[in-house]
């Protein structure tokens, strides 16, 4: 069996996998990272979204062997010292979930969107999340949560209360933003 070395949420793992093992299966069944879920069999729903080298992918549509030598960030790698990531907090505060099944994928895709476009308008949020399906919420609060998170994640944004008015000028994504939104590294 092929042997792969993958960094997942800051920890490096070396494992033997069958070539047909899907990345999502490896994460859930071999690493026990069940925060990433499977919602469909057709690559449509986005529930399984994780980041591979900083870009969102559907982990049901990537083989574990393809992830050899790469860096994966899952929903389980976002919180720091017991503190939710601002995007997670924003989903919580804005009631952006009901059953919660789509949420891990929604959050990972929302972070990918903000890395490309830190201040998306409503339409841009909807387009950025077009690969993620939600059966419960009707999307309204998800869109709200992502826009709220984009405020909270402005550079220098500390506790949300201190940043209630938008002040910073428009800007483009920097490496630092990307590190922040993908959860950074802690190997």
């Amino acid at each position: 069996m092929p042997r792969i070395t993958v960094n997942v949420d800051g920890t490096t793992y070396t494992d033997e996998v069958q070539p047909r093992t899907l990345l999502v299966q490896y994460l859930r069944e071999q690493l026990g990272k069940v925060g990433t879920v499977v919602g469909c069999d057709t690559s449509n729903c986005g529930a399984c979204t994780v980041h591979m080298d900083g870009h969102s992918v559907k982990s049901c549509s990537v083989l574990a062997v393809q992830a050899d030598g790469h860096e994966i960030t899952t929903i389980e790698g976002l919180a720091r010292d017991g503190q939710l990531h601002p995007m997670q907090q924003s989903f919580h505060d804005n009631h952006a979930l009901q059953c919660g099944f789509c949420t891990p994928g929604m959050i990972m895709q929302a972070l990918d969107l903000l890395a490309e476009n830190p201040e998306p308008d409503e339409q841009q949020v909807r387009e950025g999340l077009e690969g993620n399906l939600c059966r419960c919420t009707g999307y309204q609060n998800i869109v709200r949560a992502v826009r709220d998170a984009s405020e909270r994640m402005r550079p220098g944004a500390g506790p949300p209360m201190e940043h209630s008015e938008p002040t910073s000028p428009p800007r483009t994504a920097t490496e630092q933003d990307r590190a922040q939104v993908t959860g950074g590294q802690h190997s």
Binding site: P19, R20, L22, S43, H55, K58, D112, G131
Partner: protein, 284 residues
């Protein structure tokens, strides 16, 4: 679902890939971005003995200029196509069509070459490749050959590629300064085209000097709407001219009826969407 078992090899050069393909013959399948192949394997619609992953062959990736040609490596991802300055400047139509493909996650993995090799009649990139007169550079056991897009797409999900051949890169002329637009009609987010129209137009002093129009999902392969192209030549770039020319859009096409649309409706869409695509491309 989980795919059936297969052996896996990840070569790092085209030669290594060719050797593996030659040895396995029809039992091998090339893996590019996997965004069409993995769903197929998961549903067990295919059952290859060997999967040859091109993901670790650096020479297949990236965009460059070579003489009069723009050269796009087959493993260049949709995401890379969208961010590439050479494509934006010299083949804008391709970038505009790629923007409509699937969703961000699929665009991060899926590749330009994979989309062409897959040859889904509803796929959005074959029609722009045809309209932009792309040439496919194909590697086989007896060397390389070049097949123009007009001969590359043979039938539903069928191209000129033989089982032991590999699409290396796509070459096209520079379309610098041409106006372009891809008009796609679909019913829900992240879906393939019911019908799509790829249009590129060069205007000179308010008149249409040249035009290229490619149609998606108006037959088993992409179709060049030559009737429309000819009707535009030398005519003023106005909505009137375009509306008249667009009437020729469905000529010579052979669309099917399916759950999304009947033949009649597809023919109607071809005309309407051709009008819209040309209007935007020509700035009329």
């Amino acid at each position: 679902m989980i795919p059936a078992s297969f052996d896996y090899i990840a070569p790092t050069t085209v030669e290594e890939a060719m050797a593996a393909l030659d040895e396995a013959g029809e039992d091998a399948k090339i893996l590019a971005g996997g965004q069409s192949l993995l769903p197929v394997l998961r549903m067990r619609l295919a059952d290859p003995r060997l999967v040859v992953d091109l993901g670790r062959v650096p020479e297949l990736r990236g965009v460059r200029q070579e003489g009069d040609s723009l050269v796009i490596g087959s493993m260049t991802s949709h995401h890379e196509v969208l961010g590439d300055p050479l494509i934006r400047e010299h083949a804008k139509l391709l970038a505009l069509a790629t923007r409509t493909v699937a969703d961000p996650q699929v665009r991060h993995r899926g590749t330009f070459g994979g989309s062409l090799a897959h040859a889904d009649p509803a796929g959005d990139l074959p029609a722009p490749a045809l309209a932009l007169e792309a040439d496919m550079v194909i590697a086989g056991s007896s060397g390389r050959r070049v097949v123009p897009a007009s001969e590359f797409f043979v039938d539903y999900f069928t191209t000129a590629l033989q089982p032991n051949e590999l699409l290396v890169e796509v070459r096209m002329p520079h379309w610098t300064g041409w106006g372009a637009h891809y008009e796609k009609f679909n019913r829900v987010a992240q879906a393939w085209s019911v019908v799509g129209v790829a249009a590129a137009v060069r205007t000179e002093g308010g008149a249409i000097a040249e035009a290229r129009v490619g149609l998606t999902n108006m037959g088993p392969t992409p179709v060049r709407a030559t009737g429309v192209e000819q009707a535009l030549l030398g005519r003023p770039a106005t909505s009137e001219t375009i509306r008249e020319a667009a009437r020729h859009a469905a000529e010579g096409t052979s669309p099917t009826s399916d759950a999304s649309a009947d033949v009649d409706y597809r023919e109607h869409l071809a005309e309407v969407l051709t009008g819209r695509a040309l209007t935007t491309a020509a700035g009329a």
